[in-house]
């Protein structure tokens, strides 16, 4: 199969990187970590562009690689017992206007308190607009499992936001990761 050439890769990188960073940020709650993992995923994508060219969805390839890197780094950080360096740091607050920023920060805080597999399903389905079948393919689980994670995630997210536990500074919001 023909490999991705330089101009195709450059266009792919330029057009998709911000979107993938945003999606990974929503999954892991740390913008800097998300950016580092996405950068590393693109480096691997170019180094192994044979795999990238075979992938039906190159953006999903990069997103999945970046997510796995983030989980791996998070695990190593946890095992090293360095809570001050943990991958999940305070969410980014720059950018959106004040009202939106409050909701944005509360939502990120709430997402950080959910099980990671539920968060990933929620983000892929509702932020990346992937149908359930695509989420199942990207996460490697049956569709029934995805539906269950979405249902549980929605319920838990609504409860957290209703209770105000997604607000920054709330005791529960500081224990994820």
């Amino acid at each position: 199969m023909r490999r991705v050439d330089e101009s195709e890769f450059d266009e792919f990188y330029t057009s998709s990187r911000a979107r993938i960073i945003g999606q990974l940020y929503a999954m892991i709650g740390d913008h800097d970590e998300a950016q580092e993992c996405v950068q590393e995923a693109f480096v691997r994508a170019w180094a192994h562009r044979g795999s990238l060219s075979r992938a039906q969805h190159p953006e999903a390839w990069v997103r999945t690689t970046a997510y796995r890197l983030a989980v791996s780094r998070w695990r190593r950080t946890r095992l090293a017992r360095r809570p001050a360096d943990r991958a999940v740091s305070a969410p980014v607050t720059a950018g959106p206007p004040d009202d939106a920023r409050v909701a944005h920060v509360a939502l990120i805080e709430a997402l950080r308190q959910l099980p990671e597999k539920q968060v990933r399903a929620l983000v892929l389905h509702h932020l990346c607009d992937l149908p359930v079948a695509e989420v199942a393919r990207e996460t490697g689980v049956p569709e029934g499992t995805v539906k269950a994670r979405l249902a549980r995630g929605r319920t838990a997210l609504a409860a957290l936001l209703d209770d105000g536990l997604g607000q920054p500074g709330s005791p529960e919001g500081a224990h994820h990761g």
Binding site: I21, W46, H48, S72, W74, R75, A94, L127, V141
Partner: protein, 277 residues
Amino acid sequence: MADPIDELERLRGHTVGLHDTMPPAAEIRRLGDRRRRREQGLVAGAAAAAVAVVAVTGALAGGALDRDAAPQPAAPSEPPPSRSPSVTDVPTDIPRDFPLDLGALDLTGDGGELRGPAPGATGLEELEVCGQPVWDTEPASRLGFTSTGPETADRRELRVYPSAEEAVAAMSRLQELPACGEEPTADPGRSWVWRPYDATTGYATVSFGASFSQAPDDAPPLGGEAYVVTRVGSAVLALWSSGETSPDTQAQSVTGMTETARGLTPRLCRYTVAGCD
């Protein structure tokens, strides 16, 4: 309170606007080229050592390697020590009728999906263990297969390398398994636990699986994945299954996957120098 999904979908616009300090594409490509050169250099040096390492990894992997391989006459999956097979010794193509879907379920009637076997079909081309990619080098040819159902997923990958050394190097990545142990999840008190399994195919085989640990005062966890990876000469056959398994039922899955591997390995003898006779 607003619908949490509306809130989540509104996040789309906010996250795209976040500050991005990523380097230009040319720098990413430069780093990727450097990475690839380094990996290619390492493969040549590591392959010979990996032959020996894989042979003795059984103890390190807690019995994950095939213990029956040693008594087999002529050790069909190992090349002669002083000779490196080349493309003139063994083929690198995969026959069109290779039955990678041997024994697989067709659940398309229940809303499942069936892909392959085909060179472009999704299989395990992105196999990772403990967050680390297993496949460092591109194979000369590959075949992928995927079968999914409402509760299960079955993916298979056959990779044929230009030489047995490269296949051995690919397998050597699986040695990282003993260090995997438990991965924490965001679910308090619940981990993602990796464990080796015994899988006897008569060839160098690694088998392992992962599932959720039991959380205190909670229902038994369901959800896991299992792997059986076998090398015969310059070919590597990787099988993966996922479903609502528990640690107990996962061992049964591995048994079934091992049977599938045993059914396919005779067809991989063409990728050995000496054959399997």
